[in-house]
Symmetry: C2
Subunit: 314 residues, 2 copies
């Protein structure tokens, strides 16, 4: 069995010009869950496929994911990622743009190593997925300027921005292992639900996470009035008095007082339970889809992963 | 015969979210020579291939080229491109980054429509080319900080940044039309020489172009001490007194006086003739390679293009 961390480490970024490749090696060496390539490997194993057949696509998905983080950090002016300086801080913005572009090309280079009889479809899906992720990112940006974002629009945005990458990782792994189209679709849908649960969990942890295990400051989303699952749910379920107080807090400057005020309102309206219910519902749906698939070690590994994601603290 | 301008116009960018796709349509509607797709079509026709077989790759090359311009303009803080505001000026920097990323993905989407039996090789070459162009861009950036750039390093940089795209357009067109490997290679080399001639011509026009036909201000490269074919040649051939005067002018602030001073030195050292000789040599080599190919209308069209590029005024 291929160890995905080892496979990522064995990619060589000691090439010239250093200004182009060093930031790529730096970005990929920061760790992370390696969730996406792991999903591709697991889906492939579920249908008796060989690790080495899915590896190029698995690596392409991880490199692509890290490319999106690199460019997102430039656009968000984020200074820290996984406990280290972001590329545009450590180097500069132009380096982050150009090295990011090269990372996207590297993802396609890895993808081009997929077996020729599986290449065309894998490439088409990868392109669709990449497009949807850019669309999701743009909707996320657009939502900052809109006050009338509906919860279903928010769900669609996180489906594009987060879910389709997990879904495509699972589907591609199954496809390369010659799974039936029904099974490919079931795994794709499973990835969509896992991604939605994952993102709503992210929103929840920002408010209710344990500061010592969460890894970043609590209340970041509240401070910048980010339209999360919690804020949109609170707005949708607030009575007149709660709506008034919510508007008051949204007009305040960032700080502990604002975080405490909004959290108190969230508690009063009961959005924590709403988010937890949504996470549980999407996780349950993902697990139900897994029941329709072949039952083996890989399926169990996927179940464990789903439960781990639901109960994660960071 | 497919009209490449029409084919580019028929690409649909009226999709949602508008913030992602409008800048792509804007960029592609600005015109330009459409040189790269035209080269792919011409090479394909030279070997009796069908326009529709090479069209996806031809469009992918044009979209890719425009993607590089979009991100280069962000990195260079350029405000005008083809007589219009650049994307990061008309919208903003984040839009230019994200829409540029989507353009790169769109290039791959177009490429994925290449016939399945030609896809793997076309994709591998495209990835190599895209990587080399990013490497060339990085060397270009690195050269700004170096005073010891050799002329051969400069030639290698413009080979990467400019030539490989023309070369790959020609090779890909020939490959899709089932040309022999020798013919594919001859066309690739032909594109390399045309690209070098093209870029040295660019350097020349910046100093000796006709202000009324050139389309931009004369002396832009001189003002920012850009290490062009002319400056590096001047440095290599200057005597002691000329070297001293060159250093004097390079230390001056941008302006008409500096442009006049450097141009006078160029005239004295004779770099115009050196650049013209290099352009003529590379064009001649490209034409010699064309003589080794099948002789037909497409070959003649390529000859005309080479001569037109050599004698262009803008």
């Amino acid at each position: 069995m291929i160890d995905i961390n080892q496979a990522i480490e064995s990619l060589d970024w000691s090439k010239e010009p250093k200004g182009l490749y060093e930031p790529i090696g730096y970005t990929l060496s920061a760790g992370g869950k390696r969730l996406r390539p792991q999903l591709a490997l697991t889906a492939c194993r579920m249908f008796g496929g060989r690790d080495e057949d899915v590896l190029p696509a698995a690596l392409a998905l991880e490199v692509f994911h890290n490319f999106t983080l690199l460019h997102d950090d430039v656009m968000d002016h984020a200074e820290v990622r996984r406990g280290r300086e972001t590329v545009h801080v450590r180097w500069n913005e132009n380096t982050a743009i150009l090295s990011g572009d090269q990372m996207l090309i590297e993802a396609y280079r890895l993808l081009s190593q997929v077996r020729e009889d599986k290449l065309a479809q894998t490439l088409r899906w990868f392109n669709e997925m990449a497009t949807e992720i850019c669309e999701g990112q743009q909707y996320d940006v657009d939502f900052e300027q809109r006050e009338d974002v509906r919860l279903d629009e928010y769900i669609e945005m996180i489906r594009l921005k987060t879910s389709v990458l997990l879904a495509n990782a699972l589907r591609t792994g199954a496809y390369i292992a010659n799974a039936s189209e029904e099974a490919q679709q079931a795994l794709y849908d499973c990835g969509i639900h896992l991604g939605l649960a994952f993102q709503i969990q992210d929103d929840l942890l920002d408010v209710y996470g344990n500061p010592t295990t969460f890894g970043k400051a609590i209340g970041g989303d509240i401070c910048c009035n980010k339209k999360t699952y919690l804020l949109l749910s609170a707005r949708d379920h607030a009575n007149v008095s709660q709506t008034e107080r919510l508007h008051h807090w949204l007009s305040q400057l960032p700080g502990q007082e604002k975080i405490a005020g909004v959290t108190a309102l969230y508690n009063e309206i009961g959005v924590r339970a709403m988010a937890e219910e949504a996470i549980e519902r999407h996780t349950r749906e993902a697990l139900r889809l897994m029941d329709t698939l072949p039952q083996n070690e890989a399926t169990n590994a996927l179940r464990q992963l789903a439960n781990k994601l639901e109960n994660r603290k960071s």
